[in-house]
């Protein structure tokens, strides 16, 4: 982002991650797999802007998203981009904080969604062996309707809206956290297959444990508990509790809203179930609510709750153990940062390191009537060789309002940008 040459751009085609130059010279899209380097070169940007290529830039097919800056050159970029903001420096937050969180949330959501629906479906597959392959559902039809609509909708919505693995300040401190997104680590074909296997295992537990526990037993007063309706209630309760616990394991950021959604959904499930299985609903809508009395008669059996407990343990503990082992043996960058986050409460705001400038030896020049040697002097041809500086740390400014999680004071666009901001 800082250049050392003075006048014309030394690069003709620049690989700018987001602003892709479609050149008049034949430059094919290179196949880049692996890491995308994010290089925003000021020169290429100026070149592009002066050539008035804004619209073509953003109509590119190879970029993942287009980002436009609304500004003095006009609003065209804003209109044809996915994201737009007013100042170039907001790109940092867009990528490292919001982009990263968005990827994380999306992948968690997808994995959880596939898991809960595959498990739900596989249980029906196992039941087919017991019901003569007649496509009888294991669960109550109302449960099937309300499962995705109500019982598991809000918690996963809460996960997708609020989840953060590390907060934004730490995201700035450790831009390496961006790497998993570039490497497609959170959700890929492999991750999908793993999710399917986990679903398969969970569905086996969620069907066969209740089957084995219930198929040959009765209530404590001798009456039926191995009937279809009680079994359906047991299976669906096991499923929902396991899914809720799984979601709780996935959620790394428990706001009050998340708590409300998760516990509220479980409570809502029981409330709705008891309502649907009540006398009143049966007498009003007889054929729609045939499960009358099932909740009252089976959920008061300790047998049933012990089965639910066992099923939850068998489904969840392997997941916990597996994740724990991964954290110990192969911690990802996220794990490391979160670990650090727990150990140190808040990093002390570092004093801004002023970039030490080697003093340029300039001679003064005298005022004279004629043109004098001003050009000679300012061309710096007679100065000492300036040693090549190592590129300064990309994000030296750690206590800017952005990094400190403080309310950001937006400057008006017409203000002069300060010199010490990121160059």
């Amino acid at each position: 982002m800082s250049s050392s040459s003075a006048d014309k751009p030394s690069v003709i085609k620049a690989r700018a991650g987001l602003f892709w130059l479609q050149k008049t010279e034949t430059v094919q899209d290179e196949e880049v797999d692996g890491e995308y380097g994010l290089v925003i070169n000021g020169h290429s940007l100026a070149f592009a802007l002066e050539k008035d290529l804004q619209l073509e830039l953003l109509r590119t097919a190879s970029a993942h998203i287009g980002v436009g800056i609304s500004g003095q050159e006009g609003m065209q970029a804003v209109l044809s981009s996915d994201f737009s903001f007013a100042q170039f420096r907001y790109l940092q937050r867009l990528l490292l904080v919001h982009g990263r969180w968005s990827y994380l949330r999306m992948c968690k959501f997808l994995q959880y969604f596939f898991y809960k629906n595959f498990t739900f479906t596989f249980v029906h597959f196992w039941y087919a062996f017991f019901c003569g392959f007649s496509a009888q559902t294991v669960y109550d039809e109302w449960f099937i309707t309300l499962y995705n609509l109500m019982y598991t909708a809000l918690p996963v919505l809460g996960l997708s809206i609020f989840d953060q693995d590390v907060n934004d300040r730490w995201s700035f401190q450790y831009p390496q956290l961006y790497t998993p997104g570039q490497l497609n680590q959170y959700f890929s074909k492999k991750a999908f297959v793993r999710c399917m296997m986990k679903s398969c295992y969970s569905s086996l537990i969620l069907f066969f444990i209740p089957w084995a526990a219930m198929h040959d037993t009765v209530r404590d007063d001798g009456k039926d508990i191995a009937d279809y309706q009680s079994f359906a209630l047991l299976a669906q309760t096991c499923l929902l509790i396991v899914m809720s616990i799984q979601l709780s394991l996935d959620t790394h950021y428990w706001t009050a809203v998340n708590q409300f959604f998760v516990w509220g959904s479980l409570a809502g499930y029981f409330a709705i179930t008891f309502t649907m299985y009540s006398n009143g609903m049966f007498l009003i809508f007889t054929s729609a609510f045939p499960f009358i009395g099932t909740a009252r008669n089976s959920l008061n059996q300790p047998n049933v709750w012990l089965t639910i407990f066992l099923t939850s343990l068998l489904c969840i503990l392997p997941v916990v153990a597996f994740r724990f082992i991964l954290i110990q043996l192969r911690p990802t960058i996220n794990d490391k940062v979160r670990h650090k986050m727990r150990k140190e409460a808040l990093p002390a705001p570092t004093k801004p390191v002023r970039v030490k400038r080697i003093s340029t030896r300039r001679s003064g020049y005298a005022f004279s009537h004629s043109q004098g040697y001003g050009d000679l002097v300012t061309s710096r041809k007679f100065l000492l060789k300036i040693p090549v500086r190592t590129r300064p740390a990309l994000f030296t400014e750690t206590d800017s309002p952005l990094a400190q999680n403080q309310p950001q004071h937006y400057r008006t666009i017409t203000e002069e940008p300060e010199g010490s901001q990121s160059p």
Binding site: Q136, A213, T255, T286, G293
Partner: protein, 353 residues
């Protein structure tokens, strides 16, 4: 979160600086660390073991006797007889002898069981009319179309109760007797009421309102199901309150089983008699069966189960054993995790970035 005054100027459209909109809500951010996960695993292993042991002791205190009577004793003849559907109207009785080694203490429950009878087939389960069984006159005369083809008989008269589920009701009946030592056979009294769920008996199944008519008159323009020998209002000749849709055997049968091998309650030992005041004594028993239900069409088996119960239910060893196995697996896992944590994780690799 919305500001009262309208902002203007270049900052007009900036988002609210609230915790919600800036994603700074206070939150709890848990992490799987060693000092939460490892104690949890050990604790769960302990809980599972305690539960397993407790449940095992509880289940061991139940006693169960299962007797497959499909072809046992003299029922073999009835089995052969029932293979021919034209003999369906003829009755057939048989008897089977069995013995109990240890006395059954406490309440004894008598079940009949079927194997390989799929009450959970989808079309079978749909073939019923709950509205008719709850006593609606409209449904009595016009059974739901789900009951087809068991909704009307050949002459077009509606069937009550309609549907395949009611049609296939189990119609064997049993009489238990005990060979008292040094004496004659004593018939074992069974309580045949109060064996259904309260909600089934009182809400889900109701006879149509009688209004000074007899039950037979209420069911006047209906026919009995095809496979039944008696109409629904004569199911129980001994107990007049056990007729119609509220007949307990019918209610129990209508509660479809989840799996092809199931058992349903037939009766409870009546301990009023002083011979059976403490339960069933050890000794020889005979069961006399009115053998009606044919099972060879679906290669099924019939059985009779006598069992005592605990708060945990009948004699099902699965859950106790499963808890014990789970507890050992969890313990093993906990040890493995502890070893891994000790060797690798104790602030080891996490320091680098």
């Amino acid at each position: 979160m919305g500001k009262a005054k309208v902002k203007s100027g270049p900052l007009a459209r900036r988002p609210d600086n609230s915790a919600f909109k800036q994603q700074r809500l206070p939150a709890w951010s848990p992490m799987l660390t060693a000092n939460t996960v490892l104690p949890f695993f050990y604790f769960m292993a302990l809980i599972c073991m305690l539960l397993g042991v407790w449940l095992l002791l509880t289940v061991q205190s139940t006693q169960e006797m299962k007797l497959d009577y499909t072809e046992a004793g003299s029922c073999n003849l009835c089995y052969i007889k029932r293979q021919n559907a034209s003999n369906a109207a003829q009755s057939c009785t048989c008897s089977v002898m069995f013995s109990i080694q240890k006395a059954f203490k406490g309440d004894v429950f008598f079940y009949y069981g079927l194997k390989n009878f799929h009450q959970n087939l989808r079309r079978y389960m749909d073939s019923r009319d709950d509205g008719q069984m709850v006593g609606r006159k409209r449904n009595l005369k016009n059974p739901s179309s789900y009951c087809q083809p068991f909704d009307k008989d050949q002459t077009g008269v509606p069937i009550a109760p309609c549907g395949a589920v009611a049609n296939s009701i189990f119609n064997d009946s049993f009489t238990l007797s005990y060979h008292q030592p040094g004496s004659y056979r004593v018939r074992i009294p069974l309580l045949r009421r109060g064996i259904t769920w309260y909600t089934d008996e009182n809400v889900k199944f109701r006879n149509p309102k009688t209004e000074n008519l007899t039950l037979a008159e209420v069911f006047k323009d209906t026919a009995r199901p095809l496979y039944w020998q008696k109409p629904v209002y004569e199911l129980d000749p001994d107990d007049p309150t056990n007729n119609g849709f509220i007949n307990e055997d019918l209610i129990i049968w209508m509660r479809e089983a989840a799996f092809p091998n199931f058992k349903k309650l037939y009766g409870v030992l009546n301990r009023a008699d002083e011979v059976f005041a403490k339960g069933l004594p050890a000794g020889n028993y005979t069961i006399d069966i009115n053998y009606n239900f044919p099972v060879q069409y679906f290669r099924g088996r019939k059985e009779v189960v006598l069992t005592t119960l605990t708060w945990f239910g009948g004699q099902n060893h699965f859950l106790p054993v499963a808890y014990l196995v789970t507890s050992s697996l969890i313990l093993l896992l906990a040890v493995v995790l502890t070893v891994i944590w000790w060797k690798f994780g104790k602030a080891g690799k996490n320091m680098q970035e």
